[in-house]
């Protein structure tokens, strides 16, 4: 697809491109990923579709796909569709959905302002937006466990404004606490990619809209917003993927209350709390299948952008 004029001025001066040397550069990294990413994920499948030692209860992985036994998976799927785990999945989806809504409601105006409106304060604001990346996630959650104690600052402020009569017990399995925690935790991961997408929008298009008589609200709705949709989607996907696997935010902020349990908690429980690695491994696979569309979407858009920038 590259334009012919570029192709004709061949910078290599007609030398045949030899790429085997470069493959050698990539080899150690590729080998590492095969050993510590591909093989482990395959091991999850082997354990999920293997068997369990009847006496020791240890997993007997089935390495040969022809010997895979799907009975454990099918009984797990019964629990997911209509059983006790279905509720956990539903709760996980609700939490992630609400937290994403929070990220968009707060994050879009912020990203939009910094990318397109802030001129003098932009570099300072950018530094402040990046700052949470350098602060440990669990420290940011620790901060909330301080703030949300019964006698903590949040209750004090709410009571001072007379928005509440009694101090609220935020940290005892209260679902809004989880949604606030997830939003707070992941919003930096949402704002930055959205910022860079909004910043790349051609300003001349917006100016043209203004010149043709549209109000700034109309130009936003009819030009900026539609042009930002791919960036908004990518930012949303990269934010909710880790959220779906989160199990520490909710259990940290609600002292492990079963009322706010997410899929990740069940996975952790099967693998570490009780020794049921086969069930845990199967549940990981179910989660991955649920997330497959999102993962593929993000991979495809990233690779397309990569190809375009390297053209």
């Amino acid at each position: 697809m590259s334009s012919p004029s570029v192709a004709q001025i061949d910078p290599t001066g007609g030398r045949p491109p030899r790429t085997t040397t470069w493959a050698g550069f990539a080899l150690p990294g590729v080998g590492w990923l095969i050993a510590f990413f591909v093989v482990p994920v395959y091991a999850v499948m082997a354990v999920a579709f293997g068997s369990v030692d009847p006496i020791l209860r240890t997993p007997q992985p089935a390495w040969n796909p022809l010997a895979w036994d799907f009975s454990a998976m099918s009984s797990l799927l019964d629990r997911v569709f209509g059983g006790d785990l279905g509720k956990v999945f539903l709760r996980t989806f609700s939490f992630v959905f609400l937290a994403l809504a929070g990220c968009i409601l707060i994050g879009y105006p912020v990203a939009y302002f910094v990318a397109r409106k802030a001129s003098r304060s932009r570099s300072m604001l950018l530094a402040l937006l990046v700052l949470p990346f350098w602060i440990s996630y669990l420290m940011r959650m620790l901060a909330w466990t301080n703030l949300l104690q019964q006698d903590g600052y949040v209750n004090q402020v709410l009571q001072w404004f007379q928005l509440m009569d009694e101090p609220r017990n935020w940290l005892d399995g209260d679902w809004p606490t989880v949604v606030i925690g997830l939003t707070y935790g992941y919003i930096p991961f949402f704002i930055l990619p959205l910022y860079s997408a909004l910043e790349r929008i051609d300003g001349r298009l917006i100016e043209a809209g203004r010149d043709l008589g549209a109000s700034s609200f109309q130009t936003f709705v009819r030009i900026t917003l539609p042009l930002s949709v791919p960036g908004l989607l990518a930012a949303s996907v990269i934010t909710i993927l880790p959220m779906f696997g989160d199990y520490y935010t909710n259990s940290y902020l609600t002292s492990g209350s079963p009322r706010t349990e997410m899929v990740g908690n069940q996975i952790e429980f099967f693998l570490r709390g009780s020794s049921q690695p086969q069930t845990g491994a199967s549940l990981v696979l179910v989660l991955m299948v649920f997330l497959f569309v999102l993962m593929v979407y993000y991979l495809r858009t990233t690779m397309k952008a990569q190809r375009e920038s390297e053209r």
């Binding site: 550069f25 990294g29 510590f36």
Partner: protein
């Protein structure tokens, strides 16, 4: 919608939301830092300032509690080793993937990107299973945690370096080749120095990611001696803890910010081209 129609395109309410967000994103952390300086046991209300939880308290301050020491030492060791392994591995991989053409290369490139979209819990479970079922000869704890951290951070390095390679283009190396440099001389004498800022950005990102990691460290932890700071913060809050946790978190925060500031200074010195902030480009993928 009057609000949108403020003159000169300056939207006051957008600015208000933005600054409120910045305040909201950082204020809780500042409160946590303040509580680390509390003289009392309370983790919610501040009594009076003291360094009790840093070194004053003879049993449970960061200085005197051995388990907190161990956690801090483990975290630092992991982060530094991870930096030293993941960065060179990732730089070589980025250069290789950029130039190696063909079907296999596309596959390798996809494989490199998959870890970025994989939820960490999948990493944690997969590594936990592989180290208990397949690579059983490896000593558990720090070694397996390190292998996990490198796997998790490798792709970030590749993405950051590739972005920079694309920005540099091939003309500098070709000029070097035309002036008689071999392929490897051009790489070593021209390309690598130009990659300097991006390499520093990678080091920073790898360090911060490793220090921050909870899931992988936790799944591969084999007991108290292999706990890291995030694990300590996580498990500490449940068992009626003291502001020593806040002090521990604050110390780690200062170490990270110091490292980032240092790397930022070095990068500023190295940067010769006015390209986009490499660290930002890396974070936004």
């Amino acid at each position: 919608m009057r609000l949108f129609r403020s003159r000169h395109g300056r939207a006051k309410w957008l600015a208000t939301i933005t600054w409120l967000y910045v305040l909201w994103s950082l204020l809780p952390v500042l409160v946590a830092v303040r509580i680390s300086l509390n003289s009392g046991k309370s983790r919610s209300t501040f009594q009076s300032p003291s360094f009790r939880w840093y070194w004053g308290d003879t049993t449970s301050s960061v200085w005197h509690d051995d388990t907190l020491h161990t956690a801090m030492w483990n975290t630092m060791k992991l982060a530094v080793l991870c930096m030293l392994i993941a960065t060179p591995l990732g730089v070589a991989m980025a250069i290789g993937l950029q130039r190696w053409r063909g079907k296999v290369s596309t596959g390798a490139n996809t494989l490199m990107l998959v870890p970025i979209v994989t939820p960490e819990i999948v990493f944690g479970v997969a590594l936990f299973i592989v180290f208990t079922q397949v690579y059983t000869g490896l000593p558990g704890g720090i070694t397996t945690q390190l292998l996990g951290h490198v796997t998790f951070t490798l792709s970030f390095v590749v993405v950051i370096i590739r972005g920079r390679l694309t920005a540099i283009g091939s003309q500098y190396e070709e000029a070097a080749r035309d002036l008689g440099a071999t392929k490897f001389q051009a790489l070593r004498l021209v390309l690598l120095p130009m990659l300097g800022p991006a390499i520093f950005a990678s080091l920073m990102v790898v360090f911060a990611t490793s220090v921050d990691d909870f899931v992988i460290s936790s799944f591969l932890s084999t007991g108290a001696s292999t706990e890291t700071v995030p694990i300590k913060i996580y498990s500490g809050a449940r068992a009626g803890s003291t502001p020593a946790l806040n002090a521990l978190a604050t110390v780690m925060l200062l170490v990270t910010l110091l490292a980032v500031a240092l790397a930022g200074l070095v990068m500023r010195r190295m940067r010769t081209h006015g390209d986009q902030d490499a660290s930002l480009a890396g974070l936004t993928v």
